[in-house]
Every structure is written in C-alpha cells, then in structure tokens.
C-alpha cells in the first residue's frame, strides 16, 4: 500500500464506532485498489482519552480518531454545541444537519484552531441520544428532576444543564457509577440506552427513564490534515467517500442496537416514559438558560450556535416540505 492509515477508537468491538471503522476500512481498501491500507487499533492501546489521542492526530502518530464532543471540548470547546439540549428533535433532522454545511463550518473552525493540523472529516453518531434516567421516580417534566443527584462527566455544559433543570450535578468516574447508583451516592444519570444496559445499571436500581432525548451523542471523526492533503485527489475522494459510508453506518447501527436494549430494560421492570410534546416544551423552556450560558462562556459559542440553529431551521423547512409532498 502507498498509504497506511492508522485509525483508533477508544471504545470496543461491540460499539458503533467499530462498525463504522469496519465499513470505512472495507470501502477505502477496495475502492483504492489497495493503494490505501487501514490499520485499526480498538480500545486504549495507543491512547486513552480525547486530549491524548487528538495530540496523536496532531503530531501524526495517529491518523484517524473518533472523539465524543466531551473528548474534544478541551481544545475545540465549541463542539459541545451538540450537547445543547433540545435543539435537534429527531434522528432525521440531526442526520440531515450533520451531512450539510454545519460540519464544514466546524471543520474550518477546528483547522484554524489547530494550525491546520487536525481535520474534522465527518460527524456520525455513537449511542443514540442521551436521556435522563434515575432510581427514584418517573420524570415527566423538569419539576420531577428537582433535587435529584444526577451523574455528569467533569465538564461545564452538562453540569449547567442539570443545574438549569433544578437537579444537582455530581461528577463520578464512569467505572464507579454502578456502585454509586447502588449506594445512592447519585440518583440518576444521562446516558444512551446501550450504555445503560451494557453497564447493567438497572441492577443498581436505575429503573425510571424518560425519553427526553436531550443531547445527540455525536461522534466526531478527526484526521491528521497533512496525511489527508498529501494524497492525490482521487485518493482524497476515496477517503471522503469512505467517511460518508462510515457516517451512514454509525447512523444506522445505534438504532438497530437499541431495540434489544429497550426491550431488556422494560423486561427487567424498567419504567420507560415518552414525554408529550407539551412536556418536551417544558423541558426546553427550563433548559433555555444553558443556551445563553453557552453563547457567553464558550469560545466560538455564538458562531457555532448560530450555524447549528440556522442549519436546523433550514433542514426542518426542507423536511416539512418533503413530508407535505410524501403525504399527498
């Protein structure tokens, strides 16, 4: 092979990140007729978190890396725009937004901030949507969250959100969350269903889930910019198409995987609540201070917030138009 791309994901082989990488590898290797080889390193073999791995992408010891928005927030704080609650209301909208110019805006910002070293290739999904789940009671509106101790990662935005909804944010490392739920150190968490079931949290009492879908679990796929730019145009195109195929795979995979997870949750006695449109509106209203906080406190926040909300409005209009034609 003329080019060897070293790709790494910190998750495991059961994760949608891996599904995406397998699709990418297969496409790129065959479409380039062997000119590009893709080496996969799954887990923490090369690096263990966003700061480390993105530094590897910058210095070229890693070519491709997938981070969550939290993982990249230390250097590209504006990627947390994906964590802002209730801006995108469905997979269909999110997927259309992420395939459009919004991603290009974010790419330009990241290239500028990294002295042209780190290139955002595409944004897919990892784990569906974040929902509120707790050990205490059914949550139908923000009032029901009041006073609950909700586990968050150590990052400002999720903590601001939990606080805005009247609950109290409690940072707990992921491996300790099970015991913490069991012993009441925290009373709830905000995670995707596959993570919840993968960690057996219902066994620790996490039995109430509200499908409020407050954050899209975006997967940001980064690449060493020099590595990409040194390729001839036809191979660049192959890589670009490869990332398109990867994106589609990561859009589809969580939907398939979550079916069993939801069934298992309910079968284990879990209470799954879908909020009504009115209740969703109440959540959104309660979360509004977070938007202002984001625009005021995050570098590039205003710019990316505008880019996202405009993209969402555009996509919503297009989808409404398409729906009207489809229903005719």
């Amino acid at each position: 092979a003329d080019y060897t791309l070293r790709a790494t994901a910190n998750s495991n082989e059961n994760d949608e990140d891996y599904d995406g990488l397998v699709v990418f590898k297969n496409y790129v290797e065959s479409a380039s007729n062997g000119a590009i080889e893709v080496e996969l390193f799954i887990g923490t073999q090369l690096c263990a978190n966003g700061a480390e791995c993105l530094q590897g992408v910058a210095d070229g010891s890693i070519d491709i890396y997938i981070s969550t928005s939290g993982g990249a927030a230390g250097i590209f704080p504006y990627v947390q725009v994906l964590d802002l609650p209730y801006l995108m209301t469905s997979d269909r909208i999110a997927e259309a937004v992420l395939q459009g110019d919004f991603t290009r805006t974010m790419r330009d910002m990241a290239l500028a901030d990294s002295d042209n070293m780190i290139r955002l290739m595409t944004i897919g999904n990892t784990g569906g949507w974040r929902n509120f789940a707790n050990t205490q009671r059914r949550v139908q509106g923000p009032d029901d969250l009041a006073g609950l101790k909700i586990r968050t990662v150590v990052a400002d935005l999720p903590q601001e959100l939990v606080r805005a909804l009247g609950a109290s944010p409690t940072p707990i490392p992921w491996p300790e969350l099970f015991t913490s739920l069991q012993t009441g150190v925290v009373e709830g968490s905000k995670n995707g269903i596959t993570d919840i079931m993968g960690m057996k949290f219902p066994d620790a009492g996490l039995q109430y889930m509200t499908l409020d879908g407050h954050a899209y679990m975006g997967a940001l796929w980064w690449m060493n910019n020099a590595k990409f730019m040194e390729m001839p145009d036809e191979l660049k195109m192959v890589v670009n198409d490869g990332f398109y195929a990867l994106q589609q795979a990561t859009f589809a995979s969580p939907k398939r995987k979550s079916i069993q997870a939801y069934e298992d949750f309910v079968a284990g006695g879990g209470d799954l609540y879908v909020p009504t449109p009115e209740e969703k509106a109440a959540f959104k209203e309660a979360a509004a201070p977070v938007y202002d906080w984001f625009k005021a406190n995050v570098d590039g926040g205003e710019e990316i917030f505008t880019a996202l909300t405009e993209a969402v409005a555009e996509v919503e209009a297009k989808i409404a138009e398409a729906n009207a034609m489809d229903l005719k």
Binding site: Q45, C47, G56, S61, I62, P175, Q182, T183
Partner: protein, 498 residues
C-alpha cells in the same frame, strides 16, 4: 522488526539497566531502526499518560499509610500480638513471622515494605532463638509475598487500572488466597519443626506492658463495634439467603447492629476472664492498627468510598492513631516520613508509565494478536491453557517485576481467558498471585534482595533456603487456578461480582 522488543528489553535488563530505562530504550531503539520516528512521540506521550490516572493514586496513599503506621511503631505491636497467639508452637517464631505478614498485609500493599519492616525485627529475634539466619531470612521473604495478595495491594491496583476491573472486587478476591498462602507456609514450618526440631518461643515477650487510658478506651470501643458489626453482617447474610428461598425477613441494619452491641460486649467480657492480663494488653495494643484493613474494606464494601478514597482515609486514620492515640509521632517526623513514601511511589509510578509506553509499542507490532492465536493454537482446553500460562507467568516473574509484567502481559492474556470462560476477576487473581510469588524468586526477586540487605545473608543462600516455601506457594497457585471458589466466594457474596 518490532517483534524484537522483548529480547532486546531482556538483554538491557540483564546487563543491569534500570527497568525504567530498559522499558523505554528497547522499543525506542527498534522504532528508530525501523524508521518509525514519529512513533517515538507515542512512546513519550504514553509514559506521561500511563501515570496520569486517578485510580493509581491509591498507590502513593497506601505506601504513605504504611510508612506512617511503621513510624508509629505498629510493626512491633503486630509481632507481639502474633507471638502471643502462636509463639508457643514448635517453630514458634517462624509461625509468628508468617502470621505477622498476614496481619501486616492488611496495612500495607507491598511485599518489599513487609520484608524490610518485619525482617528487621524478626530476623534478629529468630537468630537469638536458635534459627539459622538463612532460614529466618527465607521465611521472611517467602511470607512477605502475602502483603500484596491480601488487600490493600499495589499490584491489584495496577491490574485493575490496566484492565479496567474494579479494584474493590480484586481486593475482596485476594483475601482468601492470601490467607491460604499463609496456611501453606505454616504447614511447611510444621513439617520442618518435626524434622529439624525447631524451637518454641515465649508467648509474652515483654510482660508487664502498660497501655494508656485513651488507647485502652479506643480499643474497648473498637472491639465492641467490630464484633457487633461482624455479627450483624452474618445476620444480614442469613436474612438475605432466607429471602432467596422465599422467607422474607425485613430488617433495619442499624437496629440489628444496636441489638448485637450488648451481645458483643457480653461475649468479650466472658473472653476477658479466660486470658491473662499481659495477653489482654498485647491484644488491645493490636486493635488500633488492625482497624486499618477493616476501615478500608468496610468502607469499600458499604460503598461509602472508592478504593482511592479509602486509601486517603487510611492515611488520615494512620495520622490520627500515630499522633493522638499512640503519640508515637510528632509534627517534626512528618516531612521525612512523607518524603520517604513519595520517593518510593515516584519510582513505581515512573515504571508504570514506562510499562504503558512499552505496551503501546507491543500493540503497534500486532504481537498481542499473534500471541493470542499462538496460545489458542496450543490447546482448546482452558484447564490445560491455565496450566501453561501459570508456568509462563512463573518464568516471567523471575525476570520481571510484577507491575510491568501485569501492564505488558495483562492486556494480552486477560481477554484470551475471559473468552474461554474464565472470570476476569479470577484470572486477575491467578496472574497477580503468580507474579507476586515471582518477587521471591531469583534473579529479579526484589524481596530476596531486601531480605538479604536486612539480614546480611547472601541472596544465593536465601534463594536456596526458600525453595520448600516456594514449592508450597506454587501448589497454592494451582489450587487458586483450579478452584475458582477460593477467590470468587467473597466478591460474589458481597455482590461485587455477579
């Protein structure tokens, strides 16, 4: 090309290069020759990242707690307590040496600390009692490996860190295997006592000891609280097992505890009448130090703190005991004691980091996949594979310190056996115990060197005298390997392993 990393590393190690440098030089050199200069950055970054971990923080904390306890004169108390219990047997001081190690293991996470603390008191005492210095040093070294098997354990903190296991589960799983090693060693002493006519010793070393009012009071309260807690715990276990067979018993934990408190008091008062004054004081003086493992494990079990927090609590407890109860330390001693703990943890942390970078280059070479398919090609029977792996680990343990061995081999071997149906916690114990025993085998047996330094006996002669004890430890390794219940029962019963 990269496949040479292990032989090159071993050559550097054998010529006497510090482990830290050998771990970095071997892969670095190969990457350079291979034209992969950009990956040397990966090596450096992982050295840093390997150390940058919250769970690892338990390492310096437990070392510090051990240093504070040691400075507080707690070693002597534990030895005297052990002697009061076992000194009168034939081979008395050899038994005392082993029992002290079991008790000391609850305060310290390192075999080296055990050897230097207990060895400096017990080896001279055994010599005076008529043992050969060689034998005394061998017993000390052999029993000190119990230190990192019974919690707290530096080795298990490292294992949990690289493999993403729960430290708490590993700690709990180590209790029975550690005691089992102790019992095995005592059996050897028993056999040798017959053959070589090993001497007995006095049960009470220094009669007429005094105990301060405060310490006596603290011991009085702690004994009752612990016994009541233990009884309440047993009661809770019975209640839950009744519930599983359909007899619901709903109990308030605090209420049960309060009921058992007077019962505990009555039991202890009964016991008090049957023992001598001297014996009673020696036992009371062991209460405060032996509370440490109970605080650590109790806190983790009830779920009020994580292992890292437990280690900080252990430091706080050691400080309180040393300053206020035993009054064995002053503020002036503090900097030197903390400095000592910081010095030894700094070198351990650097080695952990270097081992993580070494592991990264191992991954780049795809060696783990090759090794996994090679091992799985040997046999499909997990029992046979476990046998082979134990032999491999034993040989590795001779040359490599336990920490780096776990960091490099754990991620390769662990998944293979998990796939074959061995529980990850069970495999963790097999690997940790095996590599811990390696601390007492030449040429890289750290505790042999420490035992030699403490006793003034040659490493070679201790290495010969330790052979019967090592044989028993190998037997225990195989017992642990083929009877998972030995390690898994406590974590299962307490719900830390499903």
């Amino acid at each position: 090309m990269l496949a040479w990393f292990l032989p090159v590393f071993l050559v550097f190690l054998m010529i006497g290069m510090p482990v830290f440098f050998a771990l970095l030089l071997a892969p670095g050199l190969l990457l350079q020759i291979n034209g992969q200069e950009r990956d040397i950055a990966l090596l450096y970054r992982n050295l840093y990242n390997g150390m940058d971990s919250f769970p690892l923080m338990a390492l310096p904390f437990f070392v510090l707690a051990g240093e504070l306890m040691n400075k507080g004169g707690i070693t002597t108390r534990l030895v005297e307590f052990s002697q009061a219990l076992m000194g009168h047997l034939r081979g008395g001081l050899a038994h005392v040496n082993i029992l002290s190690s079991i008790l000391f293991a609850g305060l310290s996470g390192s075999a080296v600390a055990d050897t230097s603390a207990l060895g400096s008191t017990l080896i001279p005492a055994m010599e005076r009692n008529g043992y050969s210095r060689r034998f005394a040093a061998a017993v000390t070294a052999a029993s000190s490996v119990i230190g990192p098997i019974i919690p707290p354990s530096g080795i298990m903190i490292i294992y949990a860190y690289v493999m993403g296991e729960s430290v708490a589960a590993l700690f709990l799983a180590g209790i029975v295997p550690g005691v089992l090693v102790g019992i095995g060693l005592m059996l050897v002493v028993r056999l040798m006592a017959d053959k070589y006519d090993l001497p007995k010793a006095e049960r009470i070393v220094t009669p007429g000891q005094e105990i301060s009012r405060l310490e006596s009071g603290v011991a009085f309260v702690l004994l009752r609280l612990n016994l009541a807690g233990l009884l309440a715990g047993i009661f809770a276990l019975i209640a839950t097992s009744l519930a599983t067979v359909g007899i619901p018993v709903s109990v308030n934990g605090w209420l049960v505890f309060l009921v058992f408190l007077p019962i505990a008091h009555l039991l202890l008062m009964r016991l008090r009448r049957t023992v001598s004054q001297d014996f009673r004081i020696i036992c009371k003086k062991a209460v405060a130090p032996l509370q440490t493992p109970i605080i650590i494990l109790g806190g983790i079990l009830i779920g009020i703190f994580t292992p890292t927090e437990a280690s900080a609590i252990a430091v706080a407890y050691a400080l309180i005991i040393a300053f206020f109860v035993l009054r064995s330390m002053t503020l002036r001693d503090l900097p030197a004691t903390i400095t000592k703990a910081a010095l030894s943890s700094a070198t351990v942390l650097l080695i952990v980091g270097a081992a993580v970078s070494f592991k990264t280059v191992v991954s780049l070479s795809h060696a783990p996949e090759h090794m996994a398919s090679f091992i799985l090609g040997l046999s499909e029977n997990p029992l046979i594979l476990l046998f082979l792996i134990n032999i491999l680990l034993f040989i590795v343990g001779m040359f490599l310190d336990a920490g780096p061995a776990i960091i490099i081999l754990g991620p390769i071997l662990g998944p293979i056996f998990t796939e074959l149906g061995v529980h990850p916690v069970h495999f963790a114990i097999i690997m940790s115990v095996n590599l811990t025993v390696g601390l007492a085998t030449p040429p890289m047996g750290l505790v042999l060197f420490v035992a030699s330094a403490v006793s003034g006996e040659k490493v070679e002669s201790i290495a010969r005298a330790i052979l019967p004890f090592l044989a028993v430890e190998v037997v225990v390794i195989f017992l642990i390997t083929y009877f998972p219940a030995i390690s898994m029962t406590i974590p299962r019963l307490t719900g830390f392993v499903q």
